[in-house]
């Protein structure tokens, strides 16, 4: 008989066994040919009998969690088309010919040794420096009095450096607990890059609000940033730095970002509430812009008054 390959699915790399005997027994007991130490696998779960004609007889031996052959529960089955999918309790496996393709594998970087572009310390230093510069610019542009350098330093240290350091520390600990990995450098780069993006995009969104005379850009940004962009960044990080598979990374990223998603949903609801819910204060469009670009036409006073005549009354709460 020709030798066959038994591929056993595992969380990381799959396990492979060569089946080159006419009869191979699989189970949890030590006297099996292939031992599967898994609580849902019976002591003696499956018999594989191969003949010289290429037929493979499969016999279920388990009372609990009987084996499934290509998704079917059979006591015994003879097959000659490979691969054959087998389920033994929670364990998935395949019987293959040696030349048939197996799952892709690659050698992953060890703990803290990621060779990804963002894993270089120079990027971390560069982005942190950019964050501190962005924070200084933000402080300066919102200062309307003469300030001293120590006030600027205090703001940058407290509102940016400490904030970023805290976030890196928290996420690094989380990463260590969940994945048993310690990837501080890529974490610094990703967090500082995200912070920079936010600092750059926010003023543009405010400008867009003014141009369109609408709160819609702010609203869309709020939703996109927290519900789409942040989970995307997190899942890309999990895929490329922590080598998690795509589906698991997306799920985990959504889970990790869920507090932010919930907070943004609340904020969006509040923004919408300006229009729909009762408010004792008038929430009119009060954004102003130094560029003074607007798509709305400039009206004469008469035209404004004519349009104002059709301003519909406020709506009473139900």
């Amino acid at each position: 008989m020709d030798a066959l390959i038994l591929e056993i699915n595992t969380q990381g790399l799959h396990r492979y066994h060569v089946i080159d005997k006419p009869r191979t027994r699989i189970g949890r007991a030590f006297d099996n040919d292939i031992i599967l130490s898994e609580p849902t696998v019976a002591p003696y779960h499956l018999d594989i009998i191969c003949d010289n004609d290429g037929n493979i007889e499969l016999h279920n031996l388990a009372d609990v969690n009987p084996a499934l052959f290509n998704g079917q529960a059979e006591q015994s089955v003879t097959l000659n088309t490979l691969p054959i999918n087998i389920n033994l309790g929670r364990v998935g496996a395949r019987i293959l010919l040696p030349h048939q393709p197996v799952a892709d594998t690659k050698t992953l970087a060890g703990n803290g040794r990621s060779r990804h572009l963002f894993s270089h310390a120079v990027w971390g230093i560069l982005f942190i420096a950019l964050c501190l510069i962005a924070s200084s610019v933000d402080f300066h542009s919102h200062s309307f009095t003469n300030y001293k350098w120590d006030a600027l330093a205090k703001f940058v240290a407290r509102d940016t450096a400490l904030y970023l350091a805290g976030l890196v520390f928290f996420l690094a600990i989380l990463e260590r607990l969940i994945f048993n990995r310690w990837e501080v450098k890529p974490l610094i780069v990703v967090i500082s890059l995200t912070y920079l993006m936010f600092q750059l995009i926010s003023p543009l969104i405010a400008e867009l609000n003014y141009i369109l005379t609408s709160h819609l850009p702010e609203l869309i940004f709020e939703i996109t940033w927290y519900a789409v962009l942040m989970p995307s960044i997190a899942s890309l990080y999990l895929i490329h730095i922590n080598h998690q598979n795509r589906n698991k990374s997306i799920g985990l990223a959504i889970l990790l970002c869920s507090p932010l998603i919930i907070l943004s949903a609340i904020e969006v609801t509040q923004v919408l509430g300006y229009l729909d819910n009762f408010s004792a204060s008038a929430n009119y469009h009060r954004d102003l812009s130094p560029l003074n670009w607007q798509i709305d036409e400039t009206n004469s006073i008469t035209s404004f008054i004519e349009q104002a005549q059709s301003l519909s009354p406020g709506v009473a709460s139900p």
């Binding site: 300066h140 200062s143 819910n277 004792a280 008038a282 009206n299 009473a316």
Partner: protein
């Protein structure tokens, strides 16, 4: 020695004057103690007082004058309350509402039976004359407060007399007499520290005449009546304002409407900035003084306020300047209100050319739920297109007909002039 003699003379003169005044007030009190009543709004279920005020017998002897705000619960919740009087000798009885003058905070009530001697009304005595206010302060019993006539206040649209004497809660609706014991007005409000206000009796006479022709009937929708009177008053008030030439005030590069009515007073409200501030800001606030009482939940309406706010800086860069400008660009109307009383605001924004400058303007309105046709209006306009100069207006009007407010806003904007 001369000083000593002068001091003794002044003391004796003071004592003599006090005696004369005490005698006058005593005589007036004795003359009218049976004609001034306590007005009580009673809960139909408990029979207990919900609010109290004062009133006095007028007209045909079965009519009682008081303030609208004393009995306003009858308008808002007629199914829960009724009006009653209590005389000094302990007689009491139910009163019904015969007429209202919302603008002047007056109500005329009627009794089935004659109540006593009618108070005669008279014109206002000269400024500085002694006048005497009677009423039931804090439910403590009938009393008389002595003061002087400060004249009719044009900032209240001639609807108030300044009384330099002390009115207290519970005296509202009571009569104010001249030294002949004739009613010259009706107690209405106090600003404390012996500054009080009285409604001139001529408005009471008008109300009595009106009731003779057209008394309110029991089935009438009182809230609709209140709304109609208020809109009529406010529309006339706005028409008077629009018919006048408005004085101008200069705020940096802008020539702006000043006090657009005798009822409006303008004040500089520029805050002192710290030496470190890299900008200058100037603020002028203008507000009218003739608010009208609506009810216990909405309180006063008829406010007309406008604020001018100028901001400039040679030291801030454009981004810094606009961050500050936007931060300061906010406006509110009054205090807290509940959704049972008011609707939500509805706003819209336009860019408007005013004196060849572009203003970003917003107009908001909200409605009084129980008074259909009354609105609060908020108008704002912010100057755009300058790197280091900012200016905005906030104009608010409360308890007004929305359509009637637009000509005022139009004239307001047309009166703004950019000067180079």
């Amino acid at each position: 020695m001369h000083r000593m003699i002068t001091l003794v003379f002044l003391l004796i003169a003071g004592q003599w004057l006090q005696t004369v005044q005490a005698l006058e007030s005593k005589a007036i009190y004795q003359m009218h103690e049976d004609n001034v009543l306590q007005i009580r709004v009673l809960n139909r279920e408990t029979g207990k007082k919900s609010s109290i005020g004062s009133g006095f017998i007028v007209g045909n002897g079965r009519q009682v004058a008081t303030n609208f705000h004393v009995i306003s619960q009858i308008v808002t919740e007629p199914e829960r309350f009724y009006i009653s009087y209590l005389s000094k000798n302990g007689h009491s009885g139910a009163l019904k509402l015969l007429g209202l003058d919302i603008a002047h905070d007056l109500a005329l009530l009627g009794s089935e039976l004659p109540l006593g001697q009618v108070n005669k009304t008279s014109a206002l005595p000269p400024k500085g004359s002694p006048i005497f206010a009677m009423g039931n302060p804090h439910d403590l019993g009938l009393t008389i407060a002595v003061g002087t006539n400060g004249g009719i206040l044009n900032q209240t649209d001639d609807s108030r007399i300044l009384f330099s004497g002390s009115l207290n809660p519970g005296m509202s609706g009571g009569p104010t007499y001249n030294d002949n014991g004739e009613v010259i007005g009706i107690n209405v409000a106090t600003a404390r520290n012996a500054i009080s206000f009285i409604v001139p009796s001529l408005y009471l006479n008008r109300l009595i005449d009106l009731v003779k022709k057209e008394p309110l009937n029991a089935k009438q929708n009182l809230k609709a009546e209140v709304t109609q009177q208020l809109i009529e008053y406010e529309n006339n008030y706005l028409k008077d304002i629009l018919d006048q030439d408005w004085p101008k005030i200069q705020l940096r590069q802008l020539s702006l409407p000043g006090a657009i009515s005798p009822t409006v007073r303008c004040w500089d409200n520029s805050r002192k900035l710290t030496d470190k501030a890299l900008y200058k800001r100037y603020q002028i606030n203008c507000a009218n003084q003739n608010q009208v009482y609506l009810d216990s939940r909405n309180k006063f309406v008829g406010n007309l306020n406008y604020h001018y706010f100028w901001l400039e800086s040679d030291e801030l860069n454009t981004v810094q300047f606009y961050n500050l400008y936007q931060k300061l660009n906010e406006a509110k109307i009054g205090g807290r209100v509940s959704q049972e009383v008011m609707s939500n605001f509805h706003c819209n924004t336009w860019f408007v050319d005013v004196s060849q400058q572009t203003f970003k303007t917003s107009l908001c309105r909200r409605e009084y739920i129980e008074y259909e046709g009354l609105s609060d209006i908020l108008f704002t306009a912010a100057l755009t297109g300058h790197d280091n100069k900012g200016f905005f207006i906030r104009l608010t009007m409360t308890g007004i007909d929305y359509d009637a407010s637009l000509p005022l806003i139009q004239k307001f904007m047309e009166s703004i002039e950019w000067t180079h």
